[in-house]
Symmetry: C2
Subunit: 227 residues, 2 copies
DNA sequence: TTAACTTTGCGAACATGTTCCGAAAGTAGC
DNA sequence: GCTACTTTCGGAACATGTTCGCAAAGTTAA
């Protein structure tokens, strides 16, 4: 049978570059100039090939970013999971949030229920720890997924809002928090006025997450709610 | 004094179009072909002017979308606010979510803590109702803002995740929910396996929101937690 | 050696949002 | 009528991600 696809030497034109080299160069460029400056053409030039050549090694720019993110997350040390289920969930969720906050563009790529389908196994412990914590608390598998999804929504929202706010600020058109609101129409909003900016600058993720997790667990298992 | 800016006849070349006409045409195009097909050049052609001319009437495409969103939200009827503070918050948040779900691109523009700074007064009741509900429950203004922000994160996250998942599916590359996960590494995840897809298709926003709101209010005012 | 096949490289081209700059078309003052 | 001034118009051009088609460079089979 001549079905053997590639007996020993590989066929085709020998490659000038590789996915690994492309990813390494991309990481270097991001380190040097920030991810906003990473363009396909610049990356190709730096690698030393034509721009369109990259598309033989990656599927798209999103695909490239996804590979970079997987590499980045893979290097995060998995924290020792706390024994208390609730704390395990909080720890895992905080790790997800920190990973995304460091690479804000990641959320753009990842914000999909397919989190699970996009990352490779080195990042799965984040999902697993949440599911495990929920299960240990007494949740059914289905309830555990619901717990994860709610946490995921909250986390993605926080990261994206934070990233966009920061970008807006850095691009020179921050928000005009109005001091011209009509107190008779929107009294509470008017009372806060421009103080909103200062309030919105505070990081409320930890408290919000803790509140959400406790509530989700209490809801899933009422016995824990009122002894 | 010759300071009068424009006594009667306005100066300058007479405009061929107006922002109102541009917005109306944009709405029509979106209605007909969906917002993905709305490009600056197409819009300009449809209006009957050159593409760059649009930039004399709008600041950017994001600015255009923001105007469209304001118009859209302005047409949403403000529901009769329930008397119970908690229900008022839930109603307002659900209205926000529904408004964004109908126009998924909106979240891309809006996902910033500057929600408040970007919309006009016709949409402010959504924010106001949340703040009012929190205040009536006994929250301080600062706590009320925290309540709003947590709800906002959860809502933006849900809308964005849902929108992206749908887009991925419609573009032909849905998620490969893996059935090859290593049960010894990620037991709970492996146990769920491909069933994740079906679970992620369920709408859990209402329950998640209710849980979150109750928890946020309970946290802000412990007296309400355990009588 | 020759022919078929396979993989990679790359220039040209396209669609998109956006900026630049000069032309067009009106009014105001003389 | 002529000269400023003001506002709008729009073609050219740019950067970006991406597709297409073909050339280049290797292996395998005859």
């Amino acid at each position: 049978m001549s079905r053997t696809p590639a007996p020993h030497g590989r066929t085709g034109r020998p490659p000038l570059t590789s996915r690994a080299q492309i990813l390494a160069t991309a990481r270097r460029l991001i380190d040097e100039d920030g991810w906003e400056k990473l363009t396909i053409r610049r990356l190709a030039t730096e690698v030393g090939v034509g721009a369109t050549t990259l598309y033989h090694h990656i599927q798209s720019k999103d695909d490239l970013l996804l590979h970079l993110l997987n590499h980045h997350i893979g290097q995060i040390e998995r924290p020792q999971p706390p024994s208390a289920p609730r704390d395990r969930i909080v720890t895992a969720a905080t790790a997800m949030r920190d990973a995304l906050t460091a690479w804000p563009w990641a959320a753009d790529v990842l914000s999909a229920d397919g989190f699970v389908g996009l990352l490779d196994e080195s990042a799965m412990w984040m999902v697993e720890d949440v599911l495990a914590g929920a299960a240990d608390h007494g949740c059914t598998p289905d309830q555990s997924v619901d717990v994860f999804r709610s946490i995921w929504y909250f986390t993605v929202g926080e990261v994206l809002v934070r990233a966009r706010s920061a970008r807006r600020e850095s691009e020179g058109h921050p928000f005009a928090y109005r001091d011209d609101l009509d107190p008779s129409q929107v009294p509470h909003l008017a009372a806060i006025g421009t103080r909103w900016a200062a309030l919105a600058a505070r990081d409320i993720y930890p408290e919000g997450l803790a509140t959400l997790v406790d509530a989700l667990l209490t809801r899933a298992d009422p016995r824990e709610g009122r002894p």
